[in-house]
């Protein structure tokens, strides 16, 4: 797709264009849903931690599962939100070269390089997590905690975080060439 882009985009058939746009919309909506789930998880962490503190201090009745579940919810919120972070261009990147060089073609080349490298790294991470997910699923491994949950639940969210972020980067590579010259390479939309 990248090679095609650099040599002039191959003419896409109308239906193909339509199909890509639909997939893109579904993907975006999924990432926004993830953001809402991440917000819910964070609110839940705050609520259960507060409730547990009050229950322990005022009622002398600690809620033992709260620390373990705060951890699970934290991991969940980090990775279920990650695709939205990527989509909204909220990752921090160095902008040293982009601020030194100003030639548009050079900036675009830098951007393409950054997006390609990011994509390759995220795909590799997705693959590494996927293998671990399969082995945890096969062995039935639980978390080493007082209130264990199957490890593959958490690894599935981690996998989703990497894989969906990778897809966002791929879409930036393929469909946002005009945006690929911004100082912060992953800025796709305005910061929220």
């Amino acid at each position: 797709m990248v090679a095609g882009r650099q040599g002039g985009p191959p003419p896409l058939l109308r239906e193909e264009k339509h199909m890509f746009r639909t997939i893109g919309r579904v993907h975006d909506r999924l990432s926004e849903t993830g953001l809402w789930l991440g917000m819910g998880a964070l609110a839940a962490i705050a609520a259960i931690s507060f409730a547990a503190t009050m229950s322990r201090y005022l009622l002398g009745a600690p809620i033992a599962w709260v620390p373990d579940w705060s951890g699970y919810l934290l991991a969940f919120s980090i990775f279920v939100t990650a695709p939205a972070v990527t989509r909204h261009g909220q990752h921090v990147a160095m902008d040293i070269l982009a601020s030194v060089f100003t030639a548009p073609w050079l900036l675009r080349l830098l951007s393409l390089g950054a997006l390609l490298a990011t994509f390759a790294i995220l795909v590799t991470m997705s693959w590494i997590v996927w293998r671990s997910l399969l082995s945890a699923l096969g062995a039935g491994t639980m978390t080493a905690a007082g209130y264990p949950v199957p490890r593959w639940w958490l690894l599935a969210v981690v996998f989703y975080g990497f894989a969906s972020s990778a897809l966002h980067v791929l879409r930036m590579l393929a469909f946002c060439p005009q945006k690929a010259g911004l100082p912060q390479p992953l800025v796709e939309t305005e910061r929220v």
Binding site: S49, T53, Y57, I96
Partner: protein
């Protein structure tokens, strides 16, 4: 050496502009393959889960949420105005307010990263809105964040005490005076800077009359709910530092209600900002945890320490080296993991060279956090960049950090030259 080749790859990825977390993961993949081959990759998912489920890290999003709520409730604006009325007409008073508020809010948390993110969202945004100098504000915020771990409460102090066998309560007390010294240095720096270039000062809008001292103090009362919810509950033994962060969030909701700013949409916006930011920060921490593990596996960390401490050098030079190691390594390594590696190696050296543990560990802690505000890898820089208004770039934040790194190094030298700064207060307990 494979580990050096991997650092070259990391530098290349950073230069290209690859997001920081992805660049760290790139380093990790490359280093793992070179060090051991593909089977080394199998440690990544476990380490990612280990970091992202750490209950201590729950404080990071909770403190960011606290900052978001305080900012959106108008609390920070009121805090600015009130401190303004109280301190009166000195030069650069708006910056002095930033110093005071940074130290005050910094005291609430033990994490430089959480504080940098919270201050970026609150004090920095408010200061810029008031026409402040972006770089000076960013520098002051970084300086304030750097003090967070040495002003009690701080879980890093507890960890040092645990690892080194030093009295935790003495260590907590030891950090107070150096923290104040650093705050005074920040104040003097602002004075000198504005004396040389008065145009950088923020002038209070002339239509806003100065309020009375009493009204200013009254307007701070709701804010004290938050201070109590965080610090008071810890000091009274009602909550642990982790739990107090959640109580602080609840306190911020109460304060927002008092200011009549509490609404579902406000809470949703605060949650959205928090979760995007903490996801980005914790991804970097997860990636850098693996980097630390790989460095330990390669033996580089231990080699560096052994090499530098094995030389036959006078005590002053040894101390300088002991301080240089955490400063350099903490720019890109996980603080807690680094403490696990270094402290056991340092403990016997302190006895050998006759260093005072309170002085050395206070310096060590300042150095650790100094690493987190030092370009190019310091976490707090990334956290501030992500949380500050979007027209503040990472490059500007880098530039802003250097004078304050200098001031903290000066604090380090002062503590070393006048050990009572660290030892006097603990001796009075």
């Amino acid at each position: 050496m494979p580990i050096y080749a991997s650092f070259a790859v990391l530098a290349l990825l950073f230069l290209l502009g690859v997001p920081v977390f992805a660049a760290f993961f790139g380093f990790n993949i490359f280093a793992a393959l070179l060090l051991m081959g593909p089977q080394m990759l199998s440690i990544f998912p476990a380490s990612i889960l280990d970091t992202s489920m750490t209950s201590e890290l729950v404080t990071v999003p909770l403190f960011i949420l606290l900052g978001e709520l305080l900012f959106r409730s108008g609390c920070i604006t009121i805090l600015f105005d009130a401190v303004d009325d109280i301190i009166g007409g000195i030069r650069g008073r708006q910056y002095v307010i930033v110093v005071v508020i940074s130290v005050l809010l910094g005291a609430l948390s033990g994490s430089a990263i959480a504080v940098a993110a919270m201050l970026g969202r609150t004090v920095m945004a408010e200061g810029i809105q008031r026409g402040g100098d972006k770089q000076l504000l960013a520098g002051l915020v970084l300086g304030g964040a750097c003090l967070a771990p040495i002003i009690p409460p701080s879980f890093l102090i507890v960890l040092i005490g645990m690892l080194s066998g030093t009295s935790i309560s003495s260590l907590l007390a030891a950090g107070v005076l150096p923290g104040i010294v650093a705050g005074v240095l920040f104040f003097l720096y602002v004075q000198v800077l504005l004396w040389r270039d008065p145009s950088r000062d923020i002038e209070r809008p002339s239509d806003a009359p100065r309020g009375s001292m009493l009204r200013a103090i009254l307007s701070l009362l709701p804010f004290s709910i938050v201070i109590f919810a965080v610090l008071g509950l810890i000091l009274l033994g009602i909550a642990t530092p982790n739990e107090s962060a959640a109580c602080g969030v609840f306190g911020a909701l109460v304060v927002a209600a008092i200011y009549r700013r509490l609404s579902l949409s406000m809470v949703i916006e605060a949650l959205k900002g928090t979760v995007l930011m903490s996801s980005m920060i914790l991804l970097i921490m997860a990636a850098s945890k693996i980097l630390t593990q790989l460095m330990a596996f390669s033996g580089l960390t231990a080699d560096l320490v052994a090499l530098l401490t094995g030389l036959d050098l006078p005590p002053v030079v040894v101390l300088a080296i002991l301080m240089l190691i955490p400063f350099v390594l903490c720019m890109f390594l996980d603080q807690i993991a680094l403490m696990l590696v270094l402290i056991p190696i340092y403990v016997p050296l302190l006895a050998t060279f006759g260093f005072d543990p309170l002085v050395v560990w206070t310096l060590f802690l300042l150095n650790l956090t100094l690493g987190s505000i030092t370009p190019p890898f310091g976490y707090a820089l990334f956290a501030l960049s992500a949380s500050s208004p979007k027209d503040v770039s990472l490059r500007e934040i880098y530039a802003a950090s250097w004078p304050f790194i200098g001031l903290i190094v000066l604090t380090l030298i002062l503590v070393w030259a006048f050990p009572p700064l660290a030892t006097w207060l603990p001796s009075r307990l």
